[in-house]
Symmetry: C2
Subunit: 371 residues, 2 copies
């Protein structure tokens, strides 16, 4: 097998060792004579996997003890609705910082939730620029969130390649005392973060963590205490926190794969080591793009350029198609931009190797030279 | 590897061929150089798998064209809330038939949903008997559901081993013109059903269909037209029906495994053939239990005895523990009853072979003879 060089935005490439482990024990997990996906979620075998995955998240991200770590279902898209359902209600307000389409979607779901369950939502910043987004807002462009039940932002907009705190040492906005909710789906587990800056973080697994079908949520217990208690139990974060994500049957094979991926991250030296490689990957790709301004254009402003999703365009669609065809020949796949914006996009998640990035930059150099 | 004889209630045993296929192509799906779980859900490779899974459900169950087939997340537990969210509202009523704990849970979630979103819920039948359930209700025990927005029932109660239409040729209750919603989680895809008798059916995959993390929903389009349009998009069935379950990232590896399992069912000769084997399995096990009334007791009334989950007790807990230990030596696992009721339970889903059932009945015979 020649492994494809997969730059997809998610579901995305996974570390080969995590997949090989899954393959090798798919029919017989630790001598049980059963697959891990055939194990009862109330049995010791699966519970050990589940606890190991949770403990690895806590260790790798240094998650403080007063945060619950939850493995839920429905992806970030369900979190768009679940967050306001838990935090809004009559007299409560949710503030939204918008720097891309996923933030827009989160706001739309919060608007619907507020209409049927009470409360209001407000856009406190937007960097929309015509039909797209090219940067994150500056601190002075964000209206005060004082009095809000929470403020929500998207730390990396996968479609536009726009990222907060993208530069080394970069900082997230300061929201004062307002509880901070962050969609980190494509920005999660590729570098250390200071979890204590956030009150609730969620991330779909299918970027840096594992397969689709699992969403990881970190939630501060003090925020949980302020959530509405009258929702159906399945939608309350507290339900899942009290049951260690075993209130109902978890997506057990997905959690198992997340655990395999986290073990791999740990073997690589943890998030500080992974961050170095990830920054090197992005640096090489952006340098190649910038070296050929007549051909390649990154529409994102420098300070906001995502280290996870590198978007760029060519002078016309026909050239983009030619490049995609050339890429395919070199077994480089997943480069087409999101259908809503077009162009090209290379996602550089943890499992994308430096070698793959070098193959991509070589292709871009060749294409610039010879077409 | 000696494969365990797995009688778990779910996650449960899966057909070996479905797992072997998953193992063999885990790292390289159809020459793509990638796992199926690394494929973009918007790409042709995954879309083909997704469409194949949907088409197999339609074919095997003969699902009429005016029903959408949805692959969603959150399990049956989320459906407990999602159904009333979509179907209730001010002035609308949901009626519940209760013949076990899962029905109780569905009613509790509907009650919470009605409180925050409007509407009311009503219990129209209950066969609760002390702390347990021993049968389904008779038609004449179910109050009229006239005027209800829907009636909900649980066709097989996994914990109590109580099943509707359990006997060959058995029929479901007649609810007149009231739209019928049915939780079929542990009752799905082991025999043919007349889908047109239902307006919405849901089933967690981790019984007869695949791994946990996928829930299958069949929903009649005329019912969808009557659902409230103002919910967050992620919770509306219509959102998912309009997008063929690709509104947001699906649990793609789970859907792929469901497809593998459905292919296996088709290879076995489809649901009519599978039903014969399943009935034979249940017949042999119940016959063994009934042959030793001094030792084994099935608490369920004859006409309601589940063909999927066979529950029975021994005279005391110490004997049950001794039997469980003996079973483990014979690599027979998953026999402990649900923690809420104790006793023993053998789940006889599709992937449980006749050979496994014979091993279990031999064990029960030996234990009755020699202790």
């Amino acid at each position: 097998m020649t492994r494809a060089r997969n730059f997809s935005a998610g579901p995305a490439a996974l570390p080969l060792s995590a997949l090989e482990k899954a393959r090798d024990e798919l029919l017989d997990f630790h001598g049980s004579g059963m697959s891990v996906m055939e194990q009862s979620h109330r049995g010791a075998v699966y519970e050990h996997v589940h606890e190991e995955a949770t403990a690895l998240v806590r260790e790798l991200l240094a998650v403080p003890d007063d945060y619950a770590i939850l493995f839920l279902q429905g992806g970030a898209s369900q979190q768009f609705a679940q967050v306001p359902m838990n935090l809004l209600g009559p007299g409560k307000r949710g503030d939204y910082v918008i720097n891309g389409v996923w933030g827009e979607k989160a706001l739309a779901e919060a608007t619907a939730s507020a209409k049927v369950l009470g409360g209001e939502v407000r856009e406190v910043a937007s960097t929309r620029d015509g039909k797209t987004y090219r940067r994150v807002p500056r601190q002075d462009e964000i209206a005060s969130t004082a009095g809000a039940a929470y403020v929500h932002f998207t730390s990396n907009e996968t479609i536009h390649g726009v990222q907060f705190a993208a530069e080394p040492g970069g900082v997230y906005p300061d929201f004062g005392d307002t509880p901070v909710v962050c969609d980190m789906s494509s920005d999660f587990m590729w570098r250390p973060i200071d979890v204590s800056r956030f009150d609730l973080v969620y991330a779909g697994a299918q970027k840096n963590l594992g397969p689709s079908g699992v969403v990881l949520v970190l939630v501060k217990k003090s925020l949980m205490d302020r959530m509405r208690p009258d929702l159906p139990a399945i939608f309350r974060y507290k339900t899942h926190a009290d049951a260690a994500s075993l209130y109902n049957t978890p997506p057990s094979f997905g959690v198992y794969l997340v655990r395999n991926v986290l073990l791999w991250i740990k073997e690589q030296g943890g998030l500080a080591a992974i961050e170095q490689t990830n920054r090197e990957k992005a640096q090489r790709l952006y340098a190649t793009i910038d070296a050929h301004p007549e051909l390649y254009t990154c529409p994102v402003e420098h300070g906001s350029r995502s280290r996870m999703n590198v978007v760029f365009t060519l002078p016309d669609e026909a050239m983009e198609k030619r490049l995609l065809a050339r890429a395919k020949e070199a077994r480089i796949i997943g480069l087409a931009g999101h259908r809503s914006v077009g162009g090209l996009r290379a996602s550089l998640y943890n499992a994308v190797s430096l070698e793959w990035v070098d193959a991509l930059t070589s292709l871009l150099e060749d294409f610039a030279r010879a077409g």
